[in-house]
């Protein structure tokens, strides 16, 4: 009877200690997660920007696209077009247009992409402008940056 009591008391003391240690180890094994905003700019120079389409891909790191915000100019204040399947993935195609006359020129932020970065690897992205056009629908040269 005495030995059983000793065993039970030992178990009651040891189990919480092990549980605490395991919990600490579990916490340290969790990858670091952070959220990053990526503003995307298109510079159409002197020409007005009426439509754009670009593709963003992750080259390195573990990244998930979690959301998009509209652009700074009123012409692109509506949410852009994108495939909802891109959410929680690391690749997205974004596009928008405006048929009005109030259009941006020069460098303008067309969209902000919200990303979830998992782990310590610094992510690398590849962004490519598929098309940019003026108010007549003519393709124009433009530069995309983030």
């Amino acid at each position: 009877m005495k030995s059983i009591t000793v065993i039970l008391i030992s178990a009651c003391l040891i189990v919480p200690v092990f549980a605490q240690q395991f919990g600490q180890r579990y916490e340290t094994e969790q990858p670091r997660v952070r959220f990053v905003s990526m503003p995307v700019y298109i510079d159409s120079g002197a020409r007005t920007l009426a439509a754009y389409q670009f593709e963003l891909k992750t080259k390195a790191g573990q990244v998930k696209i979690v959301g998009l915000e509209n652009g700074e100019h009123p012409a692109f204040s509506e949410p852009p077009y994108y495939d909802t399947a891109a959410l929680a993935k690391d690749r997205i195609i974004v596009a928008a247009f405006n048929t009005g006359n109030n259009l941006p020129t020069g460098k303008t932020r067309v969209v902000t992409i919200q990303l979830q970065v998992i782990g310590d690897v610094e992510p690398q992205y590849e962004i490519s402008l598929i098309v940019a056009a003026d108010s007549d629908g003519n393709e124009i040269p433009a530069e995309i940056t983030y």
Partner: protein, 153 residues
């Protein structure tokens, strides 16, 4: 099935020879005389039970053909669904062709932009631009083209 039929049919297997019957009667005949009424009741109950078993066998006989018929119906339904899927794919392909508004061989946001401009200009609209098939050519079709353009597939 044939075994069951033989087992439960009213055939000669259920009868015994007269001599054996008499001997068995002599051996197992109850000392008390059982009234005929009770005998009849027992026999009636026994025949009722047997008839129930026969009805179960009838049901078992039908399970095979019913299962076969169900399988045939299922097969026909599935092949029809596959045909419908093929039809849907054809429609999708047609939609993909029609979404190329500027006919440059690729679908991008400029196709949506150009259709939006055409709609705004009140110009004559081509029926083939009814991408979503709702009988109207409007912003819904423009959105449809834009979504094709940004699709990751």
């Amino acid at each position: 099935m044939a075994k069951y039929k033989e087992q439960f049919d009213d055939d000669q297997n259920m009868k015994v020879s007269d001599k054996l019957g008499k001997d068995l009667n002599a051996l197992f005949k109850p000392k008390l005389e059982i009234p005929h009424e009770i005998d009849r009741l027992i026999l009636n109950k026994a025949s009722l039970k047997l008839s129930r078993k026969r009805s179960h066998i009838h049901i078992l006989r039908w399970i095979g053909p019913v299962a076969a018929a169900a399988a045939i119906i299922l097969f026909v339904c599935l092949s029809n669904m596959q045909k419908q899927d093929a039809g849907f794919n054809t429609t999708q392909t047609l939609a993909a062709v029609n979404t190329d508004i500027d006919n440059n061989g690729k679908v991008n946001i400029l196709d949506a932009f150009k259709l939006a401009k055409i709609i705004e200009s009140k110009a004559i609209l081509d029926k083939k631009w009814d991408i979503n098939g709702d009988g109207l050519i409007d912003n819904g079709d423009v959105d449809q083209i834009a979504l094709v353009a940004v699709s990751l597939k």
